[in-house]
C-alpha cells in the first residue's frame, strides 16, 4: 500500500520534472546568460567604472609586513590545495606577507562566515576568499572592509561592493564555450551527453551550466542534453552516478561533462571501468594530476582548467598591490609577479587569462 503510493509519487514527480525541464538544463541558475560568439570573436568589453568596495580608513600598509588569511570554500580538496599553494608561493616571493589558509571542511556558507568573522576579530590585514555564496558572504566581508581590512576574492565572487577586487580565473561564458566546443569536437554535433555536477546550489557550477546551455543552443543546437546529476564533492558518488548514466543510456550517451575537479576524474574512471574508453568522451574541469592517468591512456582527450596555482598566486599579488595602494579603482591592469600584467575587466575584476586546455601533449608539464 505504502509502497504503491511511493511509486505513484515517484512516477508523478518524474512527469512533473520532465515538463519542467523545457526551460534549460537542470542544474543551471536563472541569471541572465551571455553566450560568446560561436567563432570565438571576443565580446566587446564595455568599460565599466570601478564597482568594488573600499576599506574604511585602512592603516598605511605600504611595504609593511601584513598578515593575510585565505578562506576558500572548503579545505581538503585538490583544487583549493592548489590555490593555497599559489598563495603561499606568492607570499614567499613577496617576502613581506604572512599568509595562511583555513576554512570549513564542508562547502558550508555558515561555517565560512564564522571563519571569516573570527579572523576579522583576530585582526588580519588582508582577506582572500572564494565564496560559497556571493550574497551570503557579503555582510561579513563588508564588516571586514569597515575594519579597514583589504579584501580580495578569487575563484568564486561575492557581490562587488563587498570586496575590493576579484581575481576571475576565466569568464563563465568563456569556460562554457571551451567546454562545449571541446565536447562537440569529440562527439560531433548530434551526440547526446550528460552532466555530473556537485550540487545544484553551487553558484559557479550553476552559472557554467546555464552559460553552457545558452551557448549550446546558439552554436551547437543539435547536441542532445540528456540529464544532469548531483554528486556532491564526493568521489565515490560521482563514480556511481556516472556509471549509472553510462548504463542507462548505453550507446545514446556519447559524452559526459564533469563540472568539478572531483566529478571529472570520477567520470573518467567510470568510463574506464565500464570499458567505454573512446566511445564516451569526458570533458570537464579538473586538475591535471587527477587526470593524468586518463589523459595518458587516451581515455580523456582534453581537460579544461585555468591553473589554480596561478590563480592563488595572482590573488596574493593583487592583495599586496591593494595594500600597497598601487592598485586602485579605475586601473586597467595590474602586475602580478611572474604572470606579468593582468587585465582589469567588469569594473573590479582581474582576469587571469583564457581557460587552459590540457591534453596528452602538455599535461605532463603540470604538477598540481
Amino acid at each position: 500500500m505504502m509502497k504503491k503510493l511511493t511509486i505513484a509519487a515517484l512516477l508523478g514527480l518524474g512527469l512533473v520534472s520532465s515538463q519542467a525541464l523545457a526551460a534549460g538544463w537542470t542544474g543551471g541558475d536563472d541569471q541572465a546568460t551571455n553566450p560568446l560568439a560561436c567563432d570565438g570573436t571576443p565580446a566587446a568589453a564595455a568599460a565599466m567604472p570601478y564597482d568594488g568596495g573600499a576599506p574604511t580608513s585602512p592603516p598605511d600598509r605600504k611595504g609593511k609586513k601584513i598578515t593575510v588569511v585565505d578562506v576558500p570554500k572548503l579545505i581538503g580538496i585538490g583544487y583549493f590545495n592548489a590555490t593555497s599553494k599559489g598563495i603561499a608561493d606568492a607570499a614567499a616571493e613577496l617576502g613581506n606577507v604572512d599568509a595562511k589558509t583555513d576554512g570549513p571542511t564542508k562547502a558550508n556558507i555558515d561555517e565560512q562566515i564564522t571563519f571569516l568573522d573570527n579572523y576579522i576579530t583576530s585582526g588580519v590585514d588582508g582577506i582572500l576568499f572564494a565564496a560559497n555564496d556571493p550574497v551570503a558572504i557579503a555582510p561579513v566581508l563588508k564588516k571586514a572592509l569597515e575594519k579597514g581590512i583589504n579584501v580580495v576574492g578569487y575563484d568564486a565572487n561575492s557581490t562587488p561592493d563587498a570586496r575590493q577586487w576579484f581575481v576571475n580565473q576565466a569568464q563563465f561564458n568563456g569556460i562554457a564555450k571551451a567546454l562545449v566546443d571541446s565536447l562537440a569536437a569529440e562527439i560531433g554535433e548530434e551526440g547526446g551527453f550528460a552532466i555530473v555536477t556537485s550540487t545544484f546550489t553551487t553558484p559557479n557550477q550553476a552559472r557554467w551550466i546555464a552559460e553552457m546551455s545558452a551557448y549550446a543552443e546558439k552554436c551547437h543546437p543539435k547536441m542532445k542534453w540528456l540529464e544532469t546529476v548531483e554528486a556532491q564533492e564526493d568521489n565515490n558518488l560521482s563514480f556511481n552516478q556516472a556509471t549509472t548514466l553510462i548504463n542507462k543510456y548505453g550507446d545514446d550517451l556519447k559524452g559526459i561533462f564533469g563540472m568539478t575537479s572531483v566529478a571529472t576524474p570520477a567520470s573518467a574512471e567510470a568510463v574506464t571501468q565500464a570499458g567505454k574508453c573512446g566511445n564516451i568522451a569526458v570533458v570537464g574541469l579538473a586538475t591535471p594530476n587527477a587526470m593524468k592517468p586518463y589523459v595518458e591512456k587516451g581515455c580523456v582527450k582534453s581537460v579544461v582548467l585555468w591553473n589554480p596555482v596561478d590563480l592563488g598566486y595572482a590573488a596574493m599579488h593583487v592583495l599586496r598591490a591593494v595594500a600597497d595602494g598601487t592598485l586602485q579603482g579605475g586601473a586597467t591592469s595590474v602586475k602580478a609577479g611572474k604572470l606579468g600584467e593582468l587585465q582589469v575587466i567588469n569594473g573590479s575584476e582581474i582576469l587571469l587569462g583564457a581557460p587552459y586546455v590540457f591534453n596528452k601533449d602538455n599535461i605532463g608539464q603540470f604538477d598540481f
Binding site: L13, A20, G27, D29, D30, I75, K100, D102, G103, P104, T105, K106, N108, I109, D110, E111, I113, T114, F115, D117, N118, Y119, T121, S122, G123, D133, V135, A136, I137, A138, P139, T199, F200, T201, A206
Partner: protein, 314 residues
C-alpha cells in the same frame, strides 16, 4: 539534594567553561572584548535556539535529526512565498514559520502515532525535508530582500545583537518551562519512564507533539534569523546543524537516554563550544585542530561527569 544532583554536571561544566575562558583570554587579547563576545553570541544564536528545543526532545528520551533540514526548508519556503508567490514579506515569514512548525509536528505525529523510534523517524524526515527544500527551490537562491528584514540577523538593540535578545528571551522561557512548570515535570517524567508517566495521567503524546512542534518552530525561527543574517536563501542551509546542536546539548549534561538535563547545562555547553571555536581561532589554531579539541572536550567532560557520579554512589 535533587537540585544538587541535577546541577552536578553543570557545575563541572561551569568550572570547565570558566577555565576555558581564562585560558583563551590569556592566549589572545582580542578574545575577551565586549565586541568579540557579542559577535560570538550572534554567531551561536541559531544553534542556540534549536538547542533549547533539542534539550526538551532529548530529555523525553527522543532525538530530532531533522532540525537542520527544517531550517533549510523554512528558509526556502520563506523565499518562495515572498518572491514566487508574491506574498508580503511579513506574511511570507509567518507562513514559512508555520510550515516549519508543522514539519516538527509531523515528526511528533510519526513518533507518537506509529511508535517509530525518534532516531529513525527523524532520520527519514532529515532526508525528506531537505529533499523538499531542494525540490521546491529547484536549487535556486532567493535574494534581494528589503533592508528592514536584515534587522533580525544583523541589527542591534541597545548595542546587543537582535538575535541575542531573541536567544536570551527564548532561553529564559525554556528554562522556566522545563524547570518550573507542570509541562517541564511531564517532560522529565516521560524521559525517565514513559509508561509510569502515562499511568499518572500525564498526556504523553500531547506533550511530545508540543515538544517536536516546538523544535520545528525554533528551527524555523533560526531559519528566519539565518536568512536575515546572510541575506540570501539556499536549500542547503542548516546542513549538519543537528550534530552541532546535539553536541551542545549532550555536552550540557542532558542524558541521551532521557529524564535528565537542564537548560543551564545546554547554554553552558553552547558557550563552551563557541568559546573554543572562537578563542582557538584567535590564538592561531586552525579549524581542523579546533574540531579535534571539541571532540576531546565532549568525551572528556562526559567522562568526568560519569566518574563523579560513580564516586558519589547511586
Amino acid at each position: 539534594m535533587t537540585l544538587s544532583r541535577l546541577l552536578r554536571h553543570e557545575t563541572i561544566l561551569a568550572v570547565l567553561t570558566v577555565i576555558a575562558l581564562i585560558v583563551l583570554a590569556s592566549l589572545s587579547d582580542k578574545f575577551f572584548t565586549t565586541e568579540n563576545l557579542l559577535n560570538q553570541g550572534r554567531l551561536m544564536s541559531e544553534v542556540g535556539l534549536v538547542a533549547l528545543a533539542m534539550t526538551f526532545v532529548i530529555v523525553t528520551g527522543g532525538i530530532d535529526l531533522s532540525v537542520g533540514s527544517i531550517l533549510g526548508l523554512t528558509a526556502i519556503l520563506l523565499g518562495v512565498f515572498w518572491k514566487n508567490l508574491g506574498l508580503p514579506l511579513p506574511a511570507a515569514i509567518a507562513l514559512a514559520m508555520l510550515c516549519g512548525t508543522f514539519a516538527g509536528w509531523v515528526n511528533g505525529y510519526i513518533i507518537t502515532r506509529f511508535n517509530v523510534p525518534a532516531l529513525i523517524a527523524t532520520l527519514a524526515t532529515l532526508a525528506l525535508y531537505r529533499g523538499l527544500a531542494e525540490g521546491i527551490s529547484q536549487a535556486r537562491s532567493v535574494r534581494g530582500y528589503p533592508e528592514w528584514f536584515f534587522f533580525f540577523g544583523q541589527g542591534e538593540v541597545l548595542g546587543v545583537p537582535f538575535q541575542l535578545w531573541l536567544l536570551g528571551i527564548a532561553t529564559v522561557i525554556a528554562a522556566v518551562v522545563l524547570g518550573l512548570t507542570p509541562f517541564g515535570r511531564a517532560t522529565y517524567a516521560i524521559g525517565a519512564n514513559e509508561t509510569a508517566a502515562r499511568f499518572s495521567g500525564i498526556r504523553v503524546n500531547a506533550t511530545k507533539l508540543w515538544i517536536y512542534s516546538a523544535a520545528g518552530f525554533l528551527s524555523a525561527l533560526a531559519a528566519v534569523v539565518f536568512v536575515s543574517r546572510v541575506t540570501t536563501t539556499r536549500s542547503d542551509m542548516g546542513t549538519g546543524l543537528e550534530l552541532d546542536v546535539i553536541t551542545g546539548v549532550v555536552l550540557g549534561g542532558t542524558s541521551i537516554f532521557g529524564g535528565r538535563g537542564t537548560i543551564i547545562g545546554t547554554v553552558l555547553g553552547l558557550i563552551l563550544i563557541q568559546a573554543l571555536k572562537n578563542g582557538l581561532a584567535l590564538s592561531g589554531v586552525k579549524g581542523d585542530g579546533t574540531i579535534v579539541v571539541i571532540g576531546l572536550v565532549l568525551i572528556g567532560a562526559i567522562l568526568v561527569g560519569a566518574l563523579f557520579d560513580k564516586n558519589r554512589g547511586g
